[in-house]
Each structure stands twice: as structure tokens, then as C-alpha cells.
């Protein structure tokens, strides 16, 4: 299977091939590596690379964004199937001009800072969500108009919940 990883500005072509058992042939920009990888808990991988043993905690975020934690180092990158990437590219700017504000954590909506129909700037705080005694102001990624608000003040929301849409 072919993938593209994007690390900052860099792109790395990645392929994965199963060799049987828990062995995989992984290529990074054409360089071949044989890796023995076991998922020992949800998202937690024990990786033997050569004879070096690593533990990697992989978190997948929406939008094919990844975080891989190795001994205190957090690697951030996006990783996408090549076909899927091509499809999204071909699909063009369908989603452009719209930005959904979602809750990055479970919590309680403390305050709505804007009303429906209101104009907002990019990076303007639009809603306050409280979790664990801390209030977190969430910002709009784009400038535009508040199209719809999906929550009320006082409402308890899950991680990833849609809060409001800016267009």
C-alpha cells in the first residue's frame, strides 16, 4: 500500500507490505526497512527495528493527522493513502470557505462569545469550553459569518463535538 507522509514542509513516500506474522517491509522514499511491529494496546506499538526495541504511542486525529510518541519525543505528521489523497486533491476546494469549530476535549460550554449571523475575524475567540477547572477559549480558524451554532451554554459536549460553523 502506498502512502504520503507530510512532516512540516517535507513529504515522504511510504509503502507498507506485509511479510507475514508481524513483520512488515516499509519503504521511506524508496529506502527499504524490515520492521517487526506488535500492537500491544490500543494505539500502542512495540516495534523491533533491527535489534532495537521501541515503544510508540500512536494517536490518530481527524483529517489523517498523527502524533507518534517515542520516549518523550512527539512526532507530528499527516499520513494519507495515495488514492485518498488524489481524490481529495481532485475534489478541490469543496470545504474551503467553511470552518467548523469543534471541541478538542470533553467539557462544558461555559459561554458563547458570538451570535448567529455575527461577523468574526480569523483567530477571534468564539466559544468558551470548560474542562477540569480550566476555561478554554476556542477560536475561529477563518474570518466570516457565524452560520450556525449547535450548542447552548451549559451543555456538556464530547471531544470532537460540532460547536459552531463559520462561513
Amino acid at each position: 500500500m502506498n502512502y504520503v507522509a507530510t512532516i512540516g514542509e517535507r513529504e515522504v513516500k511510504v509503502t507498507v507490505e506485509e511479510l507475514g506474522g508481524a513483520n512488515y517491509k516499509v519503504t521511506l522514499d524508496g529506502r527499504e526497512h524490515v520492521v517487526d511491529a506488535h500492537q500491544v494496546a490500543n494505539g500502542l506499538w512495540s516495534v523491533l527495528y533491527g535489534y532495537s526495541s521501541f515503544e510508540v504511542d500512536v494517536t490518530r486525529h481527524p483529517g489523517d493527522e498523527f502524533e507518534a510518541l517515542i520516549d518523550g519525543d512527539c512526532h507530528k505528521f499527516s499520513l494519507m493513502n495515495e488514492q485518498r489523497r488524489a481524490m481529495i486533491r481532485a475534489g478541490g476546494k469543496g470545504a474551503a470557505g467553511k470552518a467548523m469549530v469543534t471541541s478538542p476535549m470533553p467539557g462544558k460550554v461555559v459561554k458563547l462569545l458570538v451570535n448567529e449571523g455575527e461577523e468574526v475575524r480569523a483567530d477571534q475567540g468564539v466559544i468558551v469550553v470548560e474542562a477540569m477547572k480550566m476555561e478554554n477559549e476556542l477560536k475561529s480558524a477563518i474570518a466570516g459569518k457565524v452560520k450556525e451554532i449547535f450548542v447552548k451554554e451549559g451543555e456538556v459536549v464530547e471531544s470532537g463535538a460540532k460547536l459552531l460553523l463559520v462561513e
Binding site: 507522509a5 507518534a68 476535549m105
Partner: protein
Amino acid sequence: MFQKILIANRGEIAVRVLRACKEMGIRTVGVFSEVDRRALHTRYADEAYCIGPPPARESYLVIDKILEVAKASGAQAIHPGYGFLAENPLFADRCEKEKIKLIGPSAYAMRTMGSKTLARKTVQAAGVPVVPGTVEPIASEEEVFRVAKEIGFPVMLKATAGGGGKGLRLVREEGELRSSLRMAKSEAKSAFSDDSVYIEKYIENPRHVEVQILGDQHGNYVHLCERECSIQRRHQKVIEESPSVIITPEIRAAMGKVAIEAARAVQYEGAGTCEFLVDRKRNFFFLEMNTRLQVEHPVTEMVTGIDIVKEQIRVAAGEKLSVRQEDVKQTGHAIECRVYAEDPERNFMPCPGTVTSLRIPGGPGVRDDSGMYTGFEIPIYYDPIISKLVAWGKDRTEAIARMKRALAEYVVTGVKTTIPFHIRVMNNRHFIAGNFDTNFIDKVFFKEEEARRLENEEVALFAAAIQVFSEERKRAAAFKPGEAAGPASMWKYSTRPGIRKIG
């Protein structure tokens, strides 16, 4: 001795107190909010009572409910832990009225030490050095100028009713004083409807060092030496250690002596902590006294071998302290890392959720005080502290090495934690050299971290790519039943190249 104690707290500290009670053969009563039914402290206690809805002000902070449970269960004493009702003199008053022993100091000691100006006045009278400045609000602009010149710049203007950094103004030279005073006053007025301010010498790049004391009802006091708490993020302690690298035996003795004097001044009973600021010339100044068990008490326990919670319980029951000053010795070095359910990659945003897997470090010299387990859902309603990892070593070098080793073993999945942050601090050259002050994390550490190159990038990519690959395979297999790969044979696995066999 008490037969039954109620623990008016939750999370790791409730578990810590429960452990002491169990070891002493005392029956325990836990209290829990509706969201904490499955919490560890509810499960560990001998009896447990629900005290209301999740928000603390409707459960853990409701004095009437706690006392009701104490009476219903027949508990003779209440341990408040830290936070919640621990330093609330009204709670202490009510306990006294209901003839239930609160494990801690008197309401009088809490009130005195809880007021900035009163605490300062009281300890100053007992001969404890305080930061030079005024105790009373300043009456006139002339007086501000007079005092500022007397104590020397830089000075800090502080709102008398202050808190949370509001009404604070740093003044570096005389020319700025008039306008700063005006701003401090107007800020204080709008934040606290009280525009009175006082003036203090500003200690530049201080270290935060505190002294643990114990007192009993018979007038005996001991100090259990110092804890270094300068590793702070946004004024919150995150890593503590004992001993402090800057404290000499002479300074330790002097600090211990004044901490005991401060305690004696309010007839202090139980465990308490005097916090000091230490300047570059190692002058120390009293900051405040915390009239409760501290979060970071385990580092002191690790180096002195004294169980502070058990001592609290003993002296509350009227017994004498079990240790004399000459018995108190620091052996080796201990470090504590506070593990929070926060995401260091997202500006330490709180990260409540379910712990999907957990591996707690073990081995020599490691202690984990936590309130979580696999499957535990960390609630959104309370402080995000989920564990305190403590490492002991024969010296600081071994303690750091052991902490690094233990942090690397510590695995929590399902929620983000500050474990990676702690690993980075343990690897930082300034931390290793003991060269830091209270601004270190915010001003130096994060800047250095930004410029750092990450290691093992290819391994990160391997794991993520293989995870995506496996998920795609699984999804594809679900469409074609019968063709899905069976479970891997253990025989095949054990002969696979690349797996080392030991033994």
C-alpha cells in the same frame, strides 16, 4: 486512636490517605460525587457514601453533606486532603461544633495564615524574615515613594485584596512609580472593588524552597527539611525535589528554625508547610504558610522515611510526635513529577477521557501515587492531576536517572498526559546542573525545546503507517469474510527473525 476516619476528598490524595489509614488499622469512610462512583477512592474505602452531583460545589465542597456522612457513619475524624475544604476555617469551626476531629490545624491557625497581611505580621513578630515592604495598605503617594526608596528598586505593587495576578505591578525605577501606582490602583479597584495596594521588594529570579513542619498538641515541633519547588509552569509547581541543591546545612537549619517559629506563633497542629523565596545570595524570605498536607509531601517521605499522613493522624488523636528533631535526616534524593491529564503538544490543554491502557512503573526506588486504573474515566469536573510519580536515588544523579527510567516505563493511553514533558525536563542540561529558578520552564525551557531535533522519526512513521495499513486490511477483510487472516501461529512467531530470545 480513632477507629474510623472519613476522607473528604477524591482522586490520588484520597487514595494516599486511605492507604495510611489501612496500614494503621483504621476503618475508612469515602465520599464520592455521582461521577466518581467508579473512582479508585470509592472502591478502596471500607464504606462509601454518595454526596451529590459532579460539580465540587454541590458535593465535595458541601460542609453539611460531609458532616452528615461523618455522623451517619460514626467517623470520629475527617481528613480533608488538599484542596476542597482543606484550608477552610468555616469547615474547621463546624467540625469543632459537631465534635468531629478535623485532622489539621485549628480554625485560628487557618485564618491567620490564610490572610496575607495577618500572616506576614504574625510571622514577622516571631522573628521570621519576610520580603521587605509594607504590611498595611499604603495611605499616600508620598509614602509609596518613601518606602520604595527605603527598600530599593525593583519593587512590586500588590493589591491588598489581590489574587490571580491582578493589581500587580513591577516597578524597576523611580520614574515609573507614579504611573504604575495609578494603574495598580485602578486595576485593583475594578477587579476587587478595593483600590488599596501595598509595596514589596521584588525578588528577581527567585527559587521557591519550602520547609515541611509537624506539630503536636503538646507543643512539640519538628521540621522535615526542605523541598525545592522552583520547577513551575505558569506559577504552578510541576516537579519537586528534596534536598534542594542550593541549600547548605546552615541554611537548612536556619530555615527549619524559622518555620517552626512561624508554626509556634499560631500553635500549629499537624502537618504544615512554610514557603520561602530564596534570592541569588541565598537570602530567604517567608512567602506563606500552607495549613494542610501538600501535594508534594511524598518527596519528603522518601528522603526522611517519615509517613507524614500517619503523623497527622497520630497528633490529631492527641498523641505526641513520634520523631524528634535529631532523628530527622535526609537520606539520598527524591524527585516528584506531577502527571496531569493535559496535552503538552496543545499548550497543556486539559484532556479528560477514558484511560484505555495503563502501565505503572515499578522497580527499585519508584513510588506512584495515583487514582486511576485501566478503564477509568477521568472526569471533566476536577483538577487534572492523575498521578504523582516519585523516584528516590542515593544522590540527585541517580534520582534523575531513575525518574527518566520510570517515566519511560509509564504508559497511559486514551488520554494525553504530561509524561513526555517530564522526560524532556529530566534531559535538560540546566535541570541536570540544578541551575534554574521559578521562571525557568516558561522563560528558558520551552525556548530551548522549540529548537530541538526529534529522534527516531523513521520509527514514528513505521508505526503510524503499519497502523493505517492494518486498519485498511481489517476493513477490507470485513467485506470478504472467509479470507480474513487467522490468528498468527505462536510457532511461527517464535521463529521469526528479529526477535531476540532471552534465557
